[in-house]
Amino acid sequence: MVAALEIVHLHKMFGALKATDDLNLDVVEGELHAVIGPNGAGKTTLISQLSGQAAATSGEIRFFGENIARLSMPQRVRRGIVRSFQITSLCREFSALTNVALAVQARAGHSFRFLRNAQNDSRFTGPAMNALDQVGLAHRADVEAGHLAHGEQRQLELAIALAAEPKLLLLDEPMAGMGADESHRVVDLLRELKRRYTIVLVEHDMDAVFALADRISVLVYGHCIATGTPEEIRRDPAVRNAYLGEDAADAGSP
């Protein structure tokens, strides 16, 4: 199998704090690779470095062989690396549909078109509607994003990521703040998306992670202490020691 993503000796410093500490990680094409770790392990920082929102201090990020560590976020998106945000990030005045249609529009090339109405352009709204349908939000397409309920905004966040036609999908806690029903729907959706996309998933919901992931990497203090199948991770003594033991006490918190 091809390595879609290779992370080599990645470092990220915030002043004296090592947020990412000599991280090495491979993600194989088509797999769902979960990244877990206690709070402050540097999971979101990792997603930010992969997506290009934050610059790595040193190290390489190879995407199908190309080092993308110095590229801007838009440049990486154009190569197919798309992220969702842990804290919902939407255009609140636009309808749900327009939010997703913008993602389609961005994929379709530049937007230096000044006169034609884009809001009813089916080249954009069609695929956008599909993406909304996939996450189960089609019936709320015309509602302003700012008026959607919290869980719905999380679903919209996912629809936008899907509409951007990613090769590599970076999901930062897609289920954060969702109710049980919505979480179930997202788990089902991710199961569907598996194989179609290469996915890096950061998630606190351990049931979901162990049910979905092909492989899991465990981050502690910005360093990867273990990578393996869910079974291997469950048995790994270092992981049990550093993380799962703590998780038993931590499981109830969001």
Binding site: S51, Q53, S72, M73, P74, V77, R78, V82, R83, F85, S89, L90, C91, R92, E93, F94, T98, L102, A103, Q105, A106, R107, S111, F112, R113, F114, L115, R116, N117, A118, Q119, D121, E144, G146, H147, I160, A164
Partner: protein, 336 residues
């Protein structure tokens, strides 16, 4: 916008109609009304409102739609005015104008002078935007202000063109088939220009470009995460706005037959912002309503007292503090 309008409850639709219809009628028949009342002065005031509405609309594009708080927009308006006036000065004094290695003749021909003026404003906006948009927030505000001041002081230093006192234009620009020196013709020309501009902005706001610009204002990180680099879009928006501002300047110098550094001062830029804020930021009609309110308010207070700024200044403050969505907010129901 129409769709939004139709989706509103009937009561609000009537309210909007009640506000817009008389306004539209007034705009269309203003020359006749003032002719009958034998008040040509007020036709001039009406033309002035239209021209300022055009200038404020150009600023509204970057400020209201694009969220770029430019504090130096009067500079682009002033550049448009100065180019037309300078070309006319060289024509009437029969002195060629030398620009470095180039020597050109002056002209009062609108078909030549106007495009040059608009191009000059557009080019300035492009250069100033290219530098200013590297920054954001407070820095952007300050830098646009500083550039406008730079152009202001440059205009002051132009002794040949009146320096601080400004320069007079002997006649209005000459256009084929249109006599702009006729005040009714000028009024309708300004009205048509504003209407075209608003239609253009209306289309722009719904276009791919407009969605991106509005998206950048709402959430720049989101747009980057969609693969959209904001800079080229913002710069294009700024440049288009500069061109429209330049055109407003062309009309302004033709209306007043006069231009001075005050026309590109910080005070003028603030006035344009005030108009937008009074009318309603980011709304299509806001600049027109705001320009009308501002100019008529100043005029009305001016007839009551010579110390009108003593009252107009605080009035501005009160409006900003309490009418959050501007005059448009009175007609169109807000979001919660």
């Amino acid at each position: 916008m129409l769709k939004k309008l139709l989706s509103l409850p009937i009561k609000h639709r009537l309210l909007i109609l009640a506000g817009v219809a008389p306004l539209a009628l007034l705009l269309a028949f203003a020359p006749f009304v003032f002719e009958v009342l034998e008040q040509p002065f007020y036709l001039r005031v009406a033309s002035r409102i239209l021209v300022f509405a055009l200038a404020a609309s150009s600023l509204n594009l970057v400020l209201g739609f694009g969220g770029m708080v430019s504090l130096g927009h009067a500079a682009f308006v002033g550049i448009g005015s100065y180019v037309v006036a300078i070309l006319a000065w060289h024509a009437s004094n029969e002195v060629p104008l030398s620009l470095g290695p180039f020597v050109i003749a002056g002209t009062t021909d609108g078909l030549v002078a106007w495009p040059v003026a608009i191009l000059a404003a557009m080019l300035s906006a492009c250069i100033i935007g290219a530098i200013s948009l590297r920054t954001s927030g407070l820095y952007f505000i300050m830098i646009t202000l500083a550039f406008a001041q730079m152009i202001y002081y440059y205009a002051v230093s132009l002794q040949q063109y009146g320096g601080d006192d400004g320069m007079r234009m002997r006649g209005r620009s000459i256009l084929p088939g249109l006599d702009l020196s006729n005040r009714t013709t000028f009024y309708y020309f300004a009205l048509a220009s504003l209407a075209l501009c608003l239609i253009f902005l209306f289309c722009l706001a719904r276009s791919r470009f407009g969605l991106v610009i509005s998206g950048i204002r709402q959430n720049e990180t989101r747009m980057r995460a969609l693969g959209i680099e904001p800079y080229p879009y913002q710069l294009t928006c700024f440049t288009i706005s500069g061109a429209i501002a330049g055109f407003a300047g062309v009309l302004m110098v033709n209306l007043d037959s006069f231009v001075s550094p005050a026309d590109l001062s910080m005070a003028r830029s603030s006035e344009l912002i005030a108009m937008i804020l009074i009318g309603g930021v980011g709304s299509l009609w806001g600049p027109l309503l705001g320009a009308g309110f501002y100019i008529l308010g100043q005029l009305g207070l001016g007839t009551l007292t010579t110390y009108w700024p003593l009252f107009f200044g605080p009035a501005l403050i009160v409006i900003v503090l309490f009418a959050r969505r501007g005059l448009v907010g009175l007609f169109v129901p807000g979001r919660s």
